[in-house]
Symmetry: C2
Subunit: 307 residues, 2 copies
């Protein structure tokens, strides 16, 4: 096999209380990628459709991730990457991660799977760092492992695969405004009150317990974030209205996806997730902001081989 | 039934990363209590063996807890409490909680169980407040529910019963020094770095996952506390030595029990827990500090009716 076509899904990082550690994988939105073995060593990017991104592999997340896995594999050939991007860069649903994870997944397949998912995560993180300035795994892990993941630690890298209740559906609204990562990061508090920290780790513990026990009401009561959301939501116009209407429409919980501007909601069942989509639509349709909405089950498989 | 004899066990609160929310129940150490129905209304405390504590019910945790459940039950009779205390007050393994929880458990039994465990927790918290100045549930919950518990929130009160892996054993060393609650509380940081908070909620999430998946190694890697332990350990002489020797002897994790001075260790299997007991002994036997050591399985039942 010299060519592989894959679907590399969008992902939601942070997940309210799980700031910097939790993430889950979407199913209905993602990039298509074609990776081909080449005779010449190294990585080339022959084509990126959808959005304008650098073709120079050393300046592209997919390219850097590809170079990282190639370096570890020590092979005498190389790979070409073709990306049909459907996840807008800067949307907050793991656009750069999808390119980085997809690349290492595909190359690993073409190499005969010499690396495990944790190793692939480490390679993809090298790529992710090109986009975000530092290595993190909260979008890469759910893409590569599928379902819900918990990044227990980065050093040493430790990823936990959490259970994914079957009836969980995500609704995403992407208000198409630009949120600069640097701006979102600058809004993060450097210190937090111990009391808020306690509430946050109580919620993380109960969310993990809720995922294990399929307790949708507990999942709902755990999807709270009093630490980061109050700061970052100011970058997302109509966040409060969208959250409030989505909850009224039956969402279990609503929060900022990654560092925004996308907003995610989790619901029990597709019908509710679609009602939440309508709620999001009702909020943004009367504004001047362009937006996209996705309804997706949680993708427990992660990146998929198409052919 | 007019009289009941119960065993109200000691408990470990905080459990490293789970500061203020996690707790578990011990089995081999606790108070014996006898509660008798009386014709006269109200609560009397006829006897407390072991340690000197107020017999005035309004100044005693058991008395106040008893009055709280009586008030809710609206009965025309009352109860007398007799306590054989084996948990030293101020030891950090839930001495006052055991008295409060045991009282409400016993009275509820004698009343024919009109109240559920959550209601009993709320009554016992009234008693606990007499000892600690404010209501908390992190020792009461494991006593009443048994096993591992997570206090998701106090208002509204929400207790989660976590799984208790069968091979988990606790070793407790109680260096018999006085740690004033006010002093232990004054050492708590009011704010914490966001970065440390993230590590803490990652550990709480992974500890809960480890309890669900019976992953003893993950439980071990999750039993970390970089927020409270570094401050409070200075109140416990030889803490670092005890922790380090216990880990060398095979403990999965070691931390401060409650606000100290007791130190707890968790181990996989009784044999290791006993090795850890020896390690604790080796640390304290050459000091001027009196100490007690307990080895106990995790008590998944909680308070037990003896007769």
């Amino acid at each position: 096999m010299d060519t592989i076509k894959i679907f590399s899904p969008a992902t939601v990082a942070n997940v309210s209380c799980g700031f910097d550690v939790l993430g889950f994988c979407l199913d209905s939105v993602g990039d298509d990628m074609i990776i081909r073995k080449t005779k010449s060593k190294g990585i080339t990017i022959s084509k990126i459709e959808g959005y304008k991104l650098p073709l120079n592999p050393e300046k592209n997340v997919a390219g850097v991730a590809g170079l990282a896995i190639l370096k570890a594999a020590q092979v005498t050939f190389g790979f070409d990457i073709e990306i049909c991007k459907r996840i807008k860069p800067g949307s907050g649903i793991g656009s750069s991660s999808a390119s980085a994870s997809g690349t290492v997944f595909a190359i690993n397949e073409l190499l005969g799977n010499p690396f495990n998912k944790k190793q692939l995560t480490a390679f993809a993180m090298k790529g992710e760092a090109v986009a975000s300035g530092n290595e993190h795994a909260d979008n890469i892990a759910p893409g590569l492992f599928g379902g819900f993941t918990l990044v227990k630690s980065l050093n040493p890298l430790e990823i936990l695969e959490l259970p994914t209740p079957k009836e969980l559906y995500a609704t995403i609204v992407h208000p198409q405004i630009e949120v600069k990562t640097s701006e979102a990061r600058a809004l993060l508090p450097k210190t937090i009150p111990l009391k808020k920290g306690i509430a946050q780790w109580a919620n993380v513990g109960s969310l993990v317990h809720g995922l294990h026990t399929l307790d949708y009401n507990l999942i709902s009561r755990s999807l709270e974030d009093n630490i980061v959301e109050p700061h970052r939501k100011q970058l997302i116009p109509y966040f409060d209205e969208a959250k409030s209407l989505a909850i009224q429409s039956g969402a279990l919980g609503v929060g900022i996806s990654g560092s925004g501007p996308s907003i995610f909601a989790l619901s029990q069942g597709e019908i509710k997730a679609k009602q939440v989509a309508k709620a999001f639509q009702n909020v943004y349709k009367n504004t001047t902001i362009d937006f996209k909405i996705y309804v997706s089950k949680i993708n427990s498989q992660g990146i998929k081989t198409i052919s």
